[in-house]
């Protein structure tokens, strides 16, 4: 019953490294999202995509980029990881018709 998967549950990287977080959904959803979740700050939208090769900035895109080459896959890239990017990263996908979407299990990233 796999719906949204993320490439890693836990990840430890060093400052300055390039980091790739992968998200794959199997529901043929048009929209995909990347959020980070930090204590006391809720879920903050980093980027979202409403179609292949389309992307829109969310509320906190600085230091991140994304790629959506195929409908089912949405990648989040940290070009040069910094300690303030230590967080839980959640991927989600939703259909166009307004029905609720699904979240992946999350990736807890630690940047040392």
């Amino acid at each position: 019953d796999v719906k949204v998967t993320q490439s890693s549950r836990y990840l430890v990287k060093r400052t300055g490294e390039k980091v790739f977080l992968e998200c794959v959904q199997d529901m043929d959803h048009e929209n995909m999202f990347w959020y980070r979740q930090d204590p006391g700050l809720g879920l903050r939208l980093i980027y979202f995509s409403y179609d292949v090769k389309m992307k829109e900035k969310g509320d906190i895109p600085e230091g991140y980029s994304v790629s959506r080459e195929k409908k089912e896959r949405f990648s989040l890239i940290l070009e040069s990881a910094s300690t303030n990017q230590t967080s839980m990263y959640l991927c989600a996908s939703t259909p166009l018709d307004g029905l609720a979407g699904y979240f992946g299990p999350g990736t807890r990233l630690t940047v040392l």
Partner: protein
Amino acid sequence: ELKVEQNPLFLSMQEGKNYTIYCNYSTTSDRLYWYRQDPGKSLESLFVLLSNGAVKQEGRLMASLDTKARLSTLHITAAVHDLSATYFCAVDGIDNTDKLIFGTGTRLQVFP
């Protein structure tokens, strides 16, 4: 800028009691979602509210939407321990996009 605010942020309640969580949003939207998150887990969809006056119920939880007041409520009836979790509301459809913005979350703890 869309803001989604929930209150209370923390709620500790006794089993058997009733309580309401409030979700206010700052921009017109006709679509509101409620999600649940258990500690260490990802988010799970609870309700989708797509029109003014919409009411959905599942077990001891009931959600409603008033788009004119830009307010949604999540009412808990006769709380049980299994309802302990963090509850998020989310809004999309802003500016004709599917950008999905979350509230800060309400952490609910139900004790005997």
